[in-house]
Symmetry: C2
Subunit: 296 residues, 2 copies
Amino acid sequence: MTANRPRIVLFAADHGVCAEGVSAYPQEVTAQMVMNFLRGGAAINAFARSGGIELKVVDIGVAASLPASDDLVARRVARGTRNFCQEPAMTEEQLMCALNAGIELALESAIAGCDLLGFGEMGIGNTTSASAIAAALTGNTPEAVVGCGAGADEACLARKRSAIRRALDLHADSLQDPLGILRCVGGLEIAAMCGFCFGAAARRVPVVTDGFIATSAAALAVHLSPSVSGYLFASHRSAEPGHAFFLSLLDQDPLLDLAMRLGEGTGAALAVKVIQAAVAAFTGMATFASAGVSNR
Amino acid sequence: MTANRPRIVLFAADHGVCAEGVSAYPQEVTAQMVMNFLRGGAAINAFARSGGIELKVVDIGVAASLPASDDLVARRVARGTRNFCQEPAMTEEQLMCALNAGIELALESAIAGCDLLGFGEMGIGNTTSASAIAAALTGNTPEAVVGCGAGADEACLARKRSAIRRALDLHADSLQDPLGILRCVGGLEIAAMCGFCFGAAARRVPVVTDGFIATSAAALAVHLSPSVSGYLFASHRSAEPGHAFFLSLLDQDPLLDLAMRLGEGTGAALAVKVIQAAVAAFTGMATFASAGVSNR
């Protein structure tokens, strides 16, 4: 058991539901933040540098042109999802492409020797998507699962709840199974993170979730394949209220509770350090006998 | 603001109150664990290695002969404290020597360039001492502040409560001020950790407490000099019940709550990683403007 080669994979994608005015920030912030990740200026960059954690940034569905970069994994499935208040967020084919990309990135990470994986996301509008998933998966109302995401005000919150309510009505017939939920109200980054959980579990590499949106992907993965849960660590308890529903589905107590609500894999990065310490204790400690300590 | 040179100082000492049968382990375990620290076999060694944290082990009052070692800071004030059920745990002079040793070790650490300090302890019997401090400082009963320490059973717990009750009676007149408490029912490592808080604060270096016993020292330091609290971080919430009383005196929410109860600075070591990440975010992140991110 080792945890010397941690890697966090960060999936970025845009969301058609932004057209409903559900976010405090304009959609172009997704691409701007991807550029910020590539320049090393975001919180996750600081956490990863501080923690000696490798970071991979994946464009799985950003709706803007991004310059080619050795540091950006270009796996774009579409220029964002469709507006799920009007039609399914993605096609069957897009869903499979995004899931596969996530699986492949986990397998590649394992083959590269990574022994502890984490994942995070960036996508303006994606708390609306994760809230819709929470409502569909747990049967809770939009009111119960919606929080202010990246700083939504009251009017914005009302639009979020309304968008989710309309989407649950529109797609009711398709929301009976996890793949239907993912396709109709999910996001490309959420599908990729779901696949990432499969890939990590398939290679028996422990994988650390992040906050609300990342954990929506983990919850879907465990619904689809319960054995994934043995490889999952819940990193932190997000301040976003819907997170608790996913943690309870996963039956996991997160390692940290620091009132963070940023996403980007920031919770995963902190939890990686705790897990590394635990692994070091399991593998590097003397026993009472070998240390010559008197037992009771 | 930097946190690149973390150091944890581990203070070991013995306790005369062990004669009352208050611990599940024999007193010689203190020295045996010091040897284990020096060989790198304890949990704190694993955590420190995993986290890139420098560790200093200080003999401030072990009751057994220890071999000279470059890795052991020899600052022994006495061969353990006296049994505080019969007399004050230490003399005025011993108290001052232990406090001074702690102050000096913090000053030396700051001069050596350490920019983030933590402290921990090893001392069979020292949860009895910390529980007595909690009772004396907060006015709570021995019943409320006593926990099972390193695995005390019911009979052992009863002896712990009884020892504390008798000590509170015997020293009632001297327990009106923090120095009196420290001298009568404290420990040499607790006095040294109290001094360590002073030294760190005097040099304006942030200092991370550990569990129940370490936090008893921090609480006494803040009682003696309230300005110390601005430099203190509470690392974790120990599973030892008395810890909550000290955290509440300090008015601090700990960073972690992992049901740990080991001491040795293990909680401090984990918290150091969280604090380093926070400092990295404060000092290494782009602003919205510098990253070209659209504001609302």
